[in-house]
Symmetry: C2
């Protein structure tokens, strides 16, 4: 197979890079043409840059690199044997980290990154088998006989997928083709091994689908796209059942083309749909795209937390029933938010619809960002929307594994790294004569016809200044107006240029001149939202949002004696909005009035707790809310996003 890139293949440092032949409405501006230069995300990315460095130490400590050294004969007896450590998918953490290194290098080149990349790439290359097979854990634990022996659990394609994604990122960002050669050998091995007319089987954990389409985009080799098509279509026909597995968990109960919603393991589900979206755009399969669009809408409406978190069940890390969205037991794995972002980004490129930009923004600022500490080096695996003050310390006080530097199952940390470093790739996209800005940050955008410099205090301020730095004549600038931005306005050189209708794009076609200034003003009204009435778990509760941020009440910010487990919000004047530069690296807080819940007349289905459980109505107090993403950076104690709405009288509604 040829690995020369045919003319249809684009260049550019994008995490997802459709070919010119793809049926997308626009193509992403890569990291080479979209750069975050300051503000909110620049701070997060600085922390992320440090995290990438620490990540290498973590991979060393956890033994992931050791596995590769053993398998490659670089240590131990030198014969490629030895005791593998960690989970069967240990290699994937290395690959996700390598991908992060590539995006990080594109974001801010540094020699130490290239050195690390060369070192680790060499380990990976050495571990690869002559026929292209590569999975250090399987090689060490069960050798050739173990290959693909337990696909539902072995994660062999999953690891291959992450390797391919890393290799593609490496070529795009550093030009180094060493890992790509490994990836191509592995992909060719997969092509020779799997398919309708070959071994008819799929991996238990999707990601290979996205990866193979990207490898096709990078190399132009049709066989990779075809194999991705095969893996997407082979699912949902009971292959997992042939291993005696319950298929739902593996997204194998219903074929992707027939599914009406997402179900089962949340990360698997959205990785699969994201890959299917890549497939649909590269094959011009509008029917498949329409199905995926419906699936996303249903997921968003019935199985998505306010934070954009996905997956409500701890057991099997799964999506629950429609509207089964308990805030306290939300699983909302950080990796699921990342998969959701990847899917939304692909749907946005395909459809150009603002709601995907809105969804991506909600997941980015909340469900995703809460998964990493402000220092950038500690992570949540699980992201609940409520933690009780009555939680039992040793058992449950820290949700899931808590915010930790690493996990035995370490999928989330390197996933956060690659997402954070590659973030600029999600800001904007281009089409002939059009530059679309989807996310707002202080940044420079180098579009086909238009260069822009963005300046903003977003998300603390809703004002975005876009100055034209380069223009090749007449073109259209499209700016997303978030669905929440009621009353948004846009001016060009001070002149009203609206309408700026929320939930869409304002389109400014001009004969742009350098120095022209566009001002987008998105009013950051504090929004009090309630859930669909079928979301039984938060009945009678409200949550607070401002701009793209979901807010949360954290125990440490409340007056002494205020128990978040018992409070209700008192409806009344708007929240007091205050930006506090010294708090949590600078956040805007909301202050509202609340009081302890009053006990209803009769609520004694069972005796009271020994300590007397009925809260007595208390006086009004101030309650302070912080952005959800910033919780658990000071202590782990009571936190809640949804709060019961009381009445001025204090009786709970």
């Amino acid at each position: 197979m040829s690995s020369d890139a045919p003319p249809v293949v684009r260049t550019g440092q994008s995490p997802a890079r459709p070919t010119d032949a793809a049926t997308v409405t626009s193509h992403p501006l890569g990291l080479d043409r979209a750069r975050i230069t300051g503000g909110f995300w620049a701070d997060r990315q600085r922390a992320g840059a440090e995290a990438v460095r620490v990540g290498h130490e973590q991979l060393e400590r956890a033994g992931n690199l050791h596995n590769l050294r053993l398998a490659g004969g670089r240590t131990g007896g030198g014969d490629g044997t030895g005791e593998a450590v960690g989970p069967v998918f240990a290699d994937s953490d290395v690959y996700k980290w390598l991908e992060a290194v590539a995006w990080e290098y594109a974001r801010e080149p540094a020699e130490d990154l290239l050195e690390r990349q060369r070192e680790v790439t060499a380990l990976v290359a050495a571990a690869q088998q002559p026929d292209g097979y590569l999975n250090s854990v399987v090689q060490l634990r069960s050798g050739e006989a173990g290959r693909y022996a337990d696909l539902p659990w072995s994660h062999e394609h999953y690891c291959a997928g992450h390797l391919i994604q890393a290799a593609v990122a490496q070529v795009r960002c550093t030009g180094d083709r060493a890992l790509l050669e490994v990836a191509v050998r592995l992909a060719d091995h997969l092509v020779e091994t799997f398919g309708e007319d070959r071994r008819h089987d799929v991996d238990g954990h999707p990601v290979i689908e996205m990866a193979l389409v990207e490898l096709y985009r990078e190399t132009g080799t049709p066989a990779y796209l075809e194999l991705a098509r095969y893996f997407v279509d082979a699912r949902g026909h009971g292959l997992m059942a042939s291993y005696g597995k319950e298929p739902t968990y593996f997204s194998d109960r219903v074929p992707v083309r027939e599914a009406t919603t997402v179900e089962g393991h949340a990360v698997r589900a959205v990785y699969l749909t994201a890959g299917a979206t890549d497939l649909a755009t590269e094959t011009g399969d509008t029917a498949l795209l329409a199905t995926l669009d419906a699936q996303f809408s249903t997921m968003w409406a019935t199985k998505t937390y306010l934070t954009g978190g996905l997956g409500s069940r701890w057991d099997w890390e799964a999506f629950g029933e429609p509207y089964e969205l308990p805030p306290d037991r939300a699983y909302a794995e950080t990796c699921a938010a990342i998969g959701g972002i990847q899917w939304a980004w692909r749907m946005l490129l395909a459809t150009g619809e603002a709601r995907y930009g809105d969804a991506l923004e909600r997941m980015l600022f909340n469900g995703f960002l809460a998964g990493v500490s402000l220092h950038g080096t500690e992570y949540f695996y699980v992201n609940p929307l409520q933690l009780r003050g009555s939680s039992q310390p040793d058992e449950n006080r820290s949700p899931a594994h808590g915010r930790r530097g690493w996990f035995a199952c370490a999928c989330c940390p390197p996933n956060v790294m690659r997402t954070m470093s590659g973030l600029a790739g999600l800001l904007a996209s281009t089409a002939p004569g059009v530059l679309s800005v989807h996310q707002y940050a202080t940044a420079t955008l180098d579009g086909d016809e238009l260069g822009l410099e963005l300046t903003t205090d977003y998300p603390w301020s809703g004002q975005v200044r876009l100055e034209v730095t380069r223009s090749s004549g007449r073109s259209t600038l499209r700016l997303r107006v978030p669905g929440w931005a009621a009353g948004a306005t846009v001016t060009v050189d001070g002149a009203e240029a609206g309408p700026a209708t929320p939930g869409g794009y304002v389109e400014l076609e001009r004969d742009w001149q350098p120095g022209q200034v566009v001002l987008l003003d998105l009013p950051l009204t504090v929004r009090t939202v309630t859930a669909h009435p079928r979301v039984d778990a938060v009945r009678g509760c409200v949550a607070l949002e401002r701009g793209p941020l979901v807010y949360a009440f954290e125990h440490v910010d409340q007056q002494p004696g205020v128990e978040l487990d018992d409070i209700t919000l008192v409806p009344g004047p708007d929240a007091r909005v205050q930006h506090e530069p010294g708090l949590l690296e600078g956040v805007t807080t909301l202050t509202l009035r609340g009081r302890p819940a009053r006990a209803p007349e009769e609520y004694r289905p069972w005796p009271w707790p020994v300590d007397g459980g009925a809260p007595v109505p208390g006086d009004e107090v101030d309650l302070v809310a912080i952005p959800y993403y910033a919780w658990a950076n000071r202590e782990i104690d009571a936190m809640r996003v949804w709060v019961p709405l009381g009445s001025p009288g204090g009786t709970p509604s």
Copy 2:
């Protein structure tokens, strides 16, 4: 060690039979002296009698008996080797079934039961090793080397415990000592093997504690009580951690004597506390009893469902945080309700407090009874308080494994059998000069000084007629007045004999004469209850109770087009109460007014579902509720115990 019963040992066919030396306030009336002769529970027990017969076929089909035959050399090569089938605790299902056979024989003697008992007991005896060790699965799978090699998971003491309980029941009910001899050999082997000065270790799953105390009660051998004491005290000091296990799940995080609540795996937790209660009463350990009393109260107030269901988490089948009681994801394993009943019964004997009789009744009529079908031969493993109509059929429509004839993990079915057959043992207890009636059924009670014939339509009617059939002179009759029975009255031969204060016992000291009639009238007012405000999952909701029964709305009983997922109850006139002899083998239904929930003004944190998710306010409709225990006997569809309380205007509170 002697196995002669010293004088302190009582006789009588009781599931839990304290010695005369035990610090209990009363002793149970065994099945030989308490007989259910008609009414509600007689119907349930008839179904149970059939289920015990079917149980033998199930054990044959599932391979549990096959394991014992192999281990005993009764089949296969005859050398005690072969391929064991099923879970490592497979033997315990046989033992629980053998225990059920014993109680069933006491309830209604039948030759076929004795034959089955002799057959299966012979299999068990043959499988026992010369030194007394017995666990067919461990013997077959890993032989002598496998003994106690993985106590956290091997369930070896757990199986031993159930064997002992069966053996004790067999002797008490049939006089056959064959299984007791096996149990004694096994218990002696455990005594020789485990203890502070021997192997210092505990089983991952309690039950051996209860069993050893009962074996002591049966045989009078102090070593068994001492070993029970050891197993109770050895827990909570990190023995599980020495196996690398997280201790909470195994009730091993905190010593029983220091615990303030229950946590971890629900069944393990309450089996342990029930055993600790037996230990406390037989050793006169009032401090331990006080601790257990506080633990029960905290469990009841903060970790117990309205149905008496225990354990809110599917992951690890565990108790959740205090007040973490989601109705939809309630785990509430049937075995946990049974363990709760066993604990409450022991606490009732120890303390004589009516609240334990109330708790037992709530668990019995709701959390326990819902676990078995009206036919008696199909079971729920998990007992949620809500099932959505929007549940996805193939995935989640049937809660947990659904109501099935048997399970791969078949702990619940034989546990239901032994509880149902032994039920009469929970009705009443005696103390010198006192007969206490704790539960009401049509039955005969043969107390020390007093014989009674009870006639009642309980739980459909609250009127209980007690006629004296025998009296040896002056004695006190104590009748539990449930906490819910406001306005209860009691008469003797028509004369007011009150006060009958709810939540206590009415005490009637008389020179009783045969023919005298006591009438207890417990008003079955329909009660609308709400939960503690910290139970976030049911905020703004109410549930309905009548007498001991919790009610539920099931889809099949509603008018066409009524979606239980969307309804609210309309406050207004009392529910219409109607007894329907033809429905679900005769139930009293409640009819109330409700309407679809109205959508609040703003509840759009995310777009609507494609199919349009916002219910429009609808007209009032009748909503019909049935007793919770009877749900899922016609179809599996939407069901809910907790329903949002609307307002006359229809806006949801």
